[in-house]
């Protein structure tokens, strides 16, 4: 990128080397983070395109824009791309990759070459998936439920399963790198209780990646084998058990929800104290609640299967455990709000995203408690209520966290400030567009509109809410495109960023923006707790207001 406007000619990770080879063969965690940023953004737009098709189809009750088969493929590929190729790698592979070594005071992740390898594996998986789309796509839903996926679907199931299998290894390697880095690469004096909460949350995320992902890998291999070799592992007509598939699938895919949300919580835990100018409230509780979410998250999977014929007793236990996982999530929300209480809150762009996150995640989380309740779950199972619930968590939670984090660390990553007023405008547009898209879906689901239906002409009274939802989606799209434009603009025309524009604590702010290749000129010795905002000066107004 251009560095003409930077007056000081200092070497940083961006201008250290030039040329395509210096990017494709880099082992610098910061450059790999940028490689990931470009690739996940591409997949975000492919997934978004399928979302657009879905919303356009549902604008009218009749199935008129797409054929039924096309519609099945659209929602399947929307889900698979967004989950496996955008949300799971999003914050960990971009912000986590960029920041964790700096936050713990290391020169790089523990295994830089494995880090690069993980990106190549991701790209290989992505190419395989694009091949799958190009050769006709897949229509199993993102869940690959058997026996439909293994016996009946005549779409590209094997290709999609292999792509997701491969992408899994990229996330395993990222998680492995993070865990080892946090354990072994901390700077002198950086004790566990001084780690930023961003690191704690990513540590919890990595544990889920490591212990959960292999299960989906082997499950998808078995589905692909069953399909390709005509085995009978999950097919009931040959003695197989389709419910076993669901158990194995959700054993990973429920914890995967926490892979998507914990990193966003990580971002919010950094933004909220910084823009409240206060130490985080209850550091230990916030840190430990991340670990608790990861641990309890492994024990709740069967709440996706209450209507799949599992025993009532096990359903009761899983219902109880699912209530339990709400506790650590609630601890986090209470601690963030308590941090803001009596703080000097400034509503800059990252803070707007963080506050939006807290509100939307709370709604997503609470409706999750509804769904964990056996009776209500039977009523709204497989309806738009579920769709709205998990979009509140995955878009309202995970994507808002990602956008907030991108704005917060943009000056550090690129060395440029983004235009603040545009940033705030986009944050508000995203918030409004999001709610307009997904709130009507709660009502639709409660009224009984099933998910994955292409045609609702038997219930034309659902059209009003669907029109609202589609209108909201177009506003949301504007909210996503705006940051693309002004962030790209800021690369060339943005004001050069100071080393610490927000006067934030954290080691990543004690190094130049953008940082040098090895992050620190000398490895810091840490003698202070995280979030000592009492000792920090207020940020200069100039950096807050463009």
């Amino acid at each position: 990128m251009a560095t003409t406007a930077v007056s000081v000619e200092r070497k940083n990770y961006i201008n250290a080397e030039y040329g395509i080879r210096s990017w494709l063969f880099t082992t610098d965690h910061k450059r790999i983070a940028l490689l990931y940023l470009v690739s996940i953004t591409a997949f975000f737009f492919i997934g978004g395109f399928f979302a657009l098709l879905i919303r356009l189809e549902l604008l009218t009750p009749a199935g008129d824009l797409l054929t039924a088969d096309m519609y099945n493929k659209a929602f399947s590929m929307h889900g698979q791309i967004m989950v496996f190729f955008f949300l799971i790698p999003s914050i960990p592979a971009v912000l986590g990759n960029f920041l964790i070594p700096m936050m713990v005071g290391a020169k790089d992740l523990a295994f830089p070459r494995i880090n690069l390898l993980s990106w190549y594996i991701y790209i290989a998986a992505g190419c395989l998936y694009i091949l799958c789309i190009a050769s006709g796509g897949v229509d199993t839903g993102w869940t690959f439920y058997t026996p439909y996926s293994s016996q009946f679907s005549n779409t590209r199931v094997v290709e999609a399963a292999l792509a997701i299998f491969t992408a899994g290894f990229s996330s395993i390697l990222t998680g492995l790198n993070f865990v080892v880095t946090v354990h072994r690469m901390r700077a002198p004096g950086m004790t566990w209780s001084r780690l930023p909460l961003f690191v704690w949350s990513h540590y919890a995320t990595s544990i889920i990646m490591l212990l959960g992902t292999p299960i989906i890998a082997i499950t998808l291999v078995l589905v692909a084998l069953e399909r390709a070799l005509n085995l009978g592992i999950f097919d009931p007509t040959r003695g197989g058990d389709p419910v076993l598939f669901q158990h194995l699938f959700w054993f990973y895919s429920h914890p995967a929800v926490y892979i998507m949300i914990l990193p966003s919580m990580a971002v919010v835990s950094e933004i909220v104290p910084c823009f409240s100018r206060k130490r985080i409230f209850g550091y230990n509780f916030v840190a430990m609640s991340s670990i608790a979410i990861a641990a309890i998250g492994f024990l709740v999977w069967a709440h996706h299967m209450f209507v799949a014929g599992i025993s009532v007793y096990s359903a009761l236990v899983f219902s109880f455990l699912s209530f339990l996982v709400a506790v650590p999530s609630a601890i986090k929300v209470f601690n963030w709000t308590a941090t803001m209480y009596k703080g000097s809150v400034s509503f800059s762009t990252p803070m707007l995203y963080a506050i939006g996150f807290i509100g939307l995640f709370t709604m997503g989380g609470l409706t999750g408690v509804f769904l964990a309740t056996l009776g209500i779950d039977v009523h709204v199972h497989d309806t738009y209520f579920v769709i709205a619930h998990f979009h509140y968590v995955m878009v309202g939670g995970a994507v808002l966290g990602f956008l907030g984090g991108m704005h917060f660390w943009w000056p550090k990553i690129t060395g440029r400030m983004y235009p603040e007023s545009w940033g705030r405008l986009a944050a508000i547009i995203v918030f409004i567009g999001f709610n307009l898209t997904f709130f009507p879906q709660f009502i639709l689901g409660y009224l009984g509109m099933p998910r994955r239906y292409w045609d609702y002409s038997h219930m034309p009274e659902w059209q009003g809410l669907n029109v609202l939802s589609t209108a909201g989606a177009s506003i949301l799209a504007v909210g996503y495109l705006l940051p693309m434009v002004y962030l790209a603009w800021s690369l060339r025309y943005g004001k050069p960023a100071p080393d610490n524009p927000w006067q934030a604590t954290g080691l990543e702010w004690r190094t130049p923006s953008p940082p040098p290749t090895f992050n620190f000129d000398e490895i810091p010795v840490v003698t202070w707790e995280a979030y000592e905002y009492d000792n920090m000066p207020l940020p200069e107004e100039v950096t807050l207001e463009r």
Partner: protein, 261 residues
């Protein structure tokens, strides 16, 4: 707080200059070794989960279709399986000896032990291939002309009572139904058998590949008593793949070989 920083190349610690194996981002060799071994341990944790999914499926189906699984399990060649287990345990011993030799700085012994390891590993794979070949001849490989009733790979004979054949022998319709069930359910056993042993064999092949590189490095004298992390880490992997087999062997070959009939 945002103090400015001197700009320039990171000063390398003195230790980096006389330790070529020390990578730039580690403070010392100790840290590098700890990171590598922790990384391998966590990776092995993911491997446990990977095999765990199949183990779980195997145990679930074994419970549902116990008679068929017991009979199919009996069809595996116990002698060959046991022999292979011994071969694999020997290979773990030689790996441990190679690490010991590296600690003592004995290069010759190191290379010899590593070559023995490769020999044992390849023998295991060879014997496994032979075993799979036998299964092919018996028509026990799903999708390859699979058949367990009558013919070469007959499983019913001698187990009519356990499989519930003698109860329905009088009724040809029920008999045919039961036989079809036995075909289906034993097929699940063999599907899982080939998935488990196949996945294990893939891990063995990867292990042999790794150990060819390690043997070459040992031959070149790369490992010293102070530094032999790659050998140690590769050894961890090898032992792990052995341990998977140590669980597979009883699950597939041993338990309930003589079900009360």
């Amino acid at each position: 707080m945002s103090d400015s920083h001197a700009v320039g190349a990171t000063p390398l610690a003195i230790e980096h200059e006389d330790r070529p194996e020390l990578r730039h981002h580690f403070a010392d060799v100790e840290q590098q070794r700890n990171a590598a071994s922790l990384g391998m341990w966590w990776f092995l944790g993911t491997e446990i989960m990977f095999f765990g999914g199949m183990f779980c499926g195997y145990l679930v189906y074994r419970r549902i279709y116990f008679p068929e699984f017991a009979v199919a399990s009996k069809s595996l060649d116990l002698f060959v399986g046991t022999f292979n287990t011994i071969v694999l345990i020997c290979s773990s011993l030689t790996v441990a000896q190679a690490v010991r030799a590296a600690q003592l700085g004995n290069r010759k012994l190191q290379v010899r032990m590593l070559l023995l390891t490769l020999l044992f590993g390849l023998s295991f794979l060879g014997i496994k291939t032979y075993e799979w070949g036998q299964k092919y001849k018996e028509h026990h490989i799903p999708t390859f002309d699979y058949n367990v009733i009558g013919g070469e790979g007959d499983l019913v004979k001698g187990h009519e009572h356990l499989l519930g054949i003698d109860k329905v022998k009088k009724d040809p319709v029920k008999l045919r139904q039961r036989e079809a069930e036995i075909q289906r359910h034993t097929k699940i056993f063999y599907s899982l058998y080939f998935a488990l042993t196949g996945m294990h064999a893939i891990h063995m092949i990867v292990g042999v590949g790794i150990f060819i590189v390690i043997t070459w490095m040992a031959h070149k004298g790369r490992f010293t008593p102070e530094y032999h992390t790659p050998l140690e880490i590769a050894g961890l992997y090898w032992h792990f793949v052995d341990i998977v087999w140590i669980y597979l062997f009883p699950l597939l070959y041993l338990i309930d070989r003589k079900p009360g009939s």
